[in-house]
Amino acid sequence: MRRLILISVPYLWLLALFLIPFLIVLKISLSDVAMAIPPYVPTLDFAEGWAGIKAFFAELDFENFTFLTTDDLYWKAYLSSLQIAALSTFLTLLVGYPIAYGMAMAPDHWRPTLMMLVILPFWTSFLIRVYSWMGILSNEGVLNQFLTWIGLIDQPLTILNTNVAVYIGIIYTYLPFMILPIYATLEKLDGSLLEAAEDLGCSRLSAFWLVTIPLSKQGIIAGCFLVFIPAIGEFVIPSLLGGSGTLMIGKVLWEEFFNNRDWPVASAVAVVLLLILIIPIILFQRNEQKQREKEG
């Protein structure tokens, strides 16, 4: 009896507030209302809401999904989200790997402090961390002032409200997710392997390429997924740092919902986004499982 309560309380909570809402999204995305009766305004009351949703259940079709393919905006937004996420994941790796490497090579008594310094930004508000770049990257911002002062440029660079600012924002906010798994693999790295490689005539650099990088592969893969997966659906970074030309699907969904009040299309956008995410999520889990089997 106790066991039943223990299982059923969290179970029912998740069913009611995770699974059922998601099924509603799925149903609405398959409902034929996008064109005919546009706005399901938020003032919809209880009775109408149910009736509306029941009506959705009755007539399912893929009109909203075909609508997504007819309008350039959506597939361009999906592609550009993937592209922005992929490139910024790669850049985060380039920035994060040397930091993780430096941490793993640091003296033992430094490490707890270094670890805390990497984790601390994670506890600080995401919104504030993104916001902090607005004052740096704007035309009269700190970066442009600095570059003008050292005489590198005489015209301010336009960085804020471009994709470059979005890349910087993603690298900055997701950097700890890249550093930590790589550090975890590098920390366990057996130093005698590197010594052996050097004894056998490897230069330091080639020992790094031939020994260190392959042995930290698991951490690199994990870090890349941890950055890539959330970056695809990112909303805050493109809307604060990106410009009108920055197309990302999280932002499109938000605007479809809040500005156009087109719920069926917003739901269809959400379903397709989730379908896109399934592949990297499965690959990520497989990587994690492989690692666990290796360790266990």
């Binding site: 179970y11 507030l17 504030i128 770049w133 004052g135 704007s138 995410l277």
Partner: protein, 272 residues
């Protein structure tokens, strides 16, 4: 095999400069006299004064704290239960679905979680306000709590629980007297994580908040959309200060607790 070469030292210095400079600049400009955030016009604390006089921000901060305390507390209870179920309950009907529902919200884009919960609340006719934000935050943060707690549950010696049962404890007593004290550090860090996630969340709160309840991130977001503002810098500085003090205190406490535990174990080993 520790080599602190110039390369490692440089990459650490540059890396941490990159992580911390933006926040340092933000803090510095919160003490700027000028309304123009980019022109330094002398030291002043006037933006802090204006912030304290800003009713809308204070109201939003109060709502945010209420939501964070309520949702992280419920999430800790539910998440600990879920972790216990995942690690200890063995096989039961629908277990795969259950563990799927625990892990899925961790990778679900916030826009989708927010949208789906909003559609549910409208479907059942629940007015959007503090309650709906609490329900939404509890749902995603309980999954984080259960991941944190279950990793601790997996690693601890189950025979301790069995010993308690053999000595006449009821299952609940054995949980309260044996299991809970052992997993307490994980439960506390789960609560802290849930609390921070709730304080921080913009996207899900935007979907589930109504006109009657606005959280601080929603307020900040709508303010900074229009550009940089010194008042927001002041607010950010306060939040950064609270987090820094909190994290450092927590790490000192946990370090001390580990030391005490080690000492106790050594003493126990000596007497035995």
């Amino acid at each position: 095999m520790r080599r602190m070469t110039w390369f490692n030292a440089t990459s650490l210095t540059l890396g941490f400069a990159f992580l911390y400079l933006p926040m340092v600049i933000l803090v510095i400009y919160s003490f700027n006299e000028s309304k123009l955030v980019t022109v330094w016009a002398g030291f002043s604390t006037k933006w802090y004064g204006e912030l304290l006089g800003n009713e809308a921000f204070l109201d939003a901060a109060w709502v945010t704290v209420q939501v964070a305390v309520a949702s992280s507390t419920i999430a800790t209870v539910l998440g600990t239960m879920a972790a216990y179920v995942l690690v200890r309950a063995g096989r039961f009907y629908g277990r795969t679905l259950f563990s799927g529902m625990i892990y899925a919200p961790l990778v679900m884009p916030e826009v989708i979680t927010g949208l789906s919960l909003l559609l549910l609340f409208i479907g059942i006719g629940l007015d959007r306000g503090i309650l709906t934000i609490i329900l939404a935050h509890t749902t995603f943060s309980m999954c984080y709590v259960s991941v944190v707690v279950s990793s601790r549950l997996v690693s601890f010696d189950r025979s301790l629980e069995e010993a308690a049962l053999d000595l006449g404890c009821t299952p609940f007593e054995s949980f309260r007297l044996v299991t809970l004290p052992i997993i307490a550090p994980a439960v506390i860090s789960g609560w802290l994580l849930a609390f921070t996630l709730s304080l921080d969340d913009l996207v899900i709160a935007s979907f589930t908040a109504g006109p009657s309840a606005t959280t601080l991130p929603i307020k900040i977001f709508s303010a900074v959309r229009l550009g940089v503002s010194p008042e927001i810098n002041a607010l950010s500085t306060i939040m950064i200060a609270i987090v820094t003090v909190g994290v450092i205190t927590a790490s000192i406490i946990s370090k001390r607790a580990t030391l005490m535990q080690q000492r106790d174990e050594q003493a126990a080993a000596r007497t035995a």
